[in-house]
């Protein structure tokens, strides 16, 4: 089974839908422990990225990922723009000239995205950031031959919920120290939405490549 340009387009469309639906929720989460701009920033950037790729033709996955990455860098402010932007740019290098990704290319692309996030944000697992969702999800992808949609959703949701009990070590939330405990990390929540919509792009809701 292969993951192709049409599925990648569907992913970004669904991700944009979810971000727009959760714009107020993400803002509320970020107002509790950050600077309150995550919902607005992500909504602006994803709207732009979704329109851009819906109106473009792509011969390969790499150029689609690159367009999404550049749009997020240009249009999303805060830390999430360069972080998500870098993730997409790093993945685009793996997917260059590929019309579709088999399981190995798919996992390599998301693995490169995670490396990009770590390089850009310098966060570790346990710092209460999007890494707390990304790191275990990518590790799970690497160790599973078949990437099942429902398992991807469940795992990313569980890891997102686990950030509630962590103490923030990065970003504006780190200024709050212990007071950040008891709140979900907004970046972990948007990362969950990213993986939940990725799952929806798998054909018939079954599995990826």
């Amino acid at each position: 089974m292969l993951w192709d340009v049409e599925q990648a387009k569907k992913w970004i469309k669904r991700l944009n839908d979810k971000i727009q639906e959760n714009k107020a929720y993400l803002t509320e989460l970020d107002q509790a422990i950050g600077d309150g701009d995550h919902g607005l920033n992500m909504a602006r950037g994803l709207q732009e990225a979704a329109s851009k790729i819906a109106n473009s033709h792509y011969d390969d996955l790499g150029s689609l990922f690159k367009d999404v990455g550049m749009t997020l860098i240009a249009k999303v402010g805060g830390a999430s723009g360069p972080l998500y932007g870098t993730a997409f740019m790093k993945a685009s290098l793996v997917l260059k000239d590929r019309k579709e990704a088999d399981r190995n290319a798919f996992v390599a692309a998301f693995s490169a995205a995670l490396d990009g996030l770590k390089m850009r944000g310098k966060a570790q697992v346990g710092d209460k950031t999007m890494i707390d969702v990304w790191d275990p999800v990518i590790a799970w992808m690497k160790s599973h031959e078949t990437i099942r949609a429902n398992e991807l959703v469940d795992l990313s949701k569980e890891k997102m919920e686990d950030t509630k009990e962590l103490e923030a070590k990065k970003g504006r939330a780190a200024y709050l120290g212990r007071r950040s405990v008891g709140h979900l990390d907004p970046g972990a929540v948007s990362s969950y939405l990213l993986f939940a919509s990725l799952a929806e792009s798998f054909e018939k809701g079954e599995s990826a490549p």
Binding site: D35, A74, G77, A79, G81, L83, T86
Partner: protein, 130 residues
Amino acid sequence: MKYVSLVLISHSYEIVSGLKKLLSQVQPDVPIAIAGGAEGGIGTNALDIQTAIESVYSEKGVVVLFDLGSALINAEMALEMLEPHENIKIADAPLVEGAYAAVVEAGLGSSLSEVVRASESAKELVKIHR
């Protein structure tokens, strides 16, 4: 170019715009560019930072100063998008005091590393002697 240039980055356009005015009064000859805010609001943007660096770049070098966390992430990204340059440095310094120390040092015609050192020494500055 005789002087090291400065690039000031803040989440707020007004902060760096005001800071530039302050510094220009101290040393009108030091080239200063600013990148403040994003999409007309609060935030920072890697592409704006890249443009600001390019606008004051010279062989003598550029010191980049920033305010809070994600400004650093965007500054690092801007540096990666530029052609590789040894003579662009991000200073680990408080924005206002660091930029003040930097503009004084740059105005003396000092080297890039001296200007970086001057701005970073602002971290040790005791403002009230108790």
